[in-house]
Symmetry: C2
Subunit: 286 residues, 2 copies
Amino acid sequence: MNFMEKEKSIGVFDSGIGGLTVVKRIASALPNESIIYFGDTARVPYGSKSNETVIEYALEDASFLIHKNVKAIVVACNTVSSVAIPELRKRFNVPVIGMIEPGAAYTAKMTTSKRIGVIGTRATVNNKAYSKNLRKYIEDVFVIEKACPLFVPLVEEGWINKEVTRQVAREYLRELVEQKIDTLILGCTHYPVLYDVIQEIVGKETVLVDSGIAAAEAVRADLSRLGMETNSRARGRIEYFVTDIPATFKEAAQIFLGKTIGEVVRIDLEFLKELKLRIIETNNTK
Amino acid sequence: MNFMEKEKSIGVFDSGIGGLTVVKRIASALPNESIIYFGDTARVPYGSKSNETVIEYALEDASFLIHKNVKAIVVACNTVSSVAIPELRKRFNVPVIGMIEPGAAYTAKMTTSKRIGVIGTRATVNNKAYSKNLRKYIEDVFVIEKACPLFVPLVEEGWINKEVTRQVAREYLRELVEQKIDTLILGCTHYPVLYDVIQEIVGKETVLVDSGIAAAEAVRADLSRLGMETNSRARGRIEYFVTDIPATFKEAAQIFLGKTIGEVVRIDLEFLKELKLRIIETNNTK
């Protein structure tokens, strides 16, 4: 393994800003690794788009990360993870880590009653991505999935500790509590911001699974298997790229990371499309 | 005036589905007119996008309506109305009716205390579009604008008559009530769905302005001025076109129109881009 290869950054992309909760988990699990974050804020949300459109956009987003020379790609978005992983793995020669597989594998270790709840956006729940994956890991598993579309705007509004947020959570989670689940997957990267509220509603005996933690562990395992961990002992850098106004992203980032971030660079969508054409063509003729 | 010209449809476009409340108002004010609705559901929401992007998309959306041979274009979206109207008027030779100007003019007739509230998406409020327009119509006007980002997902969730919706509304509207406004502009096409809840919170002495009603009156005035009203005595047809999955749109349409709708046709984004190039080039060489 070339020395320089190990010092490349980990690439993380999301349709917008939610992926920052995953960045937080990776930075905490692998503090010496550098991270390049790409948020497609101009085209967020992907959840209301068709699968073909999501795959198309995901290939463009990943092409940007490849252009930035990353050693692994983390798909920090459950919607994209549920539809685009096979295509991304086919097109790119670096490890591609999604949210669903690690989250499901982690959940399999945590559940004892095999009664699992999954909450996410409408797209993730409609795709039944977690249910399908959980069945691979747990025999006779009972899964109940519930879309919670108001959680994302509540988080983005910064209404984390409000009574109205608790009321919305109670409304959404009632069914899951009644079904006596012992493990609840937070199947959307925004939801860890509401961790405490959700834990309060489902009760402290229910295990909450933050797929970001599971994904960070999967990244660690992949890098270790490939001998690609950094040798650096310094804290890694985090760079941010978005497709719409950086100011809006910077403001919202504080809610997700709990701290202010430095420079955010805007990337043009046309450039992104060009990159995809160029990079995918090169890969295919290898 | 050519007889056939009068029998063309009125074109209405929006970034998604909210414009249906405007369709409802136009159909009610001008029941014999036919309407072509275009919802850019693949790229919704526009509110988080830059002004240049919104203008670009608006030109594409309007090009589709021109391609369908409409006699007027209604911009049934406050965000688009606040940034793209001048460009649309420059490019197309039909009347272009937005939400902001008619809404502001209507408000000027309703207020007695000259203390006006405006609620809308973050983009509309940040653009201060209503404030600027109200100042044209009312001297010494006091305007307080408030973004209510949770109203759109509450409507789309169908949570119209729930206690939690009332609580969110109370939270958002408290400031406006304290400022003793006498008129409140519903500056987002989703909000008329929450009319009753909002009226309850602000009190029945506060006049609510549904810009859709004002826009429908503006359409009537423009068609009349140009001698373009239909001669038909039959109920007009309404046709629906969207850029993403028609099924999702059809389902949600029921919340907005209070009834099921017929066929919804999906339009490809690439075709839209081509249309824009073709139509705008033709117009410019006229």
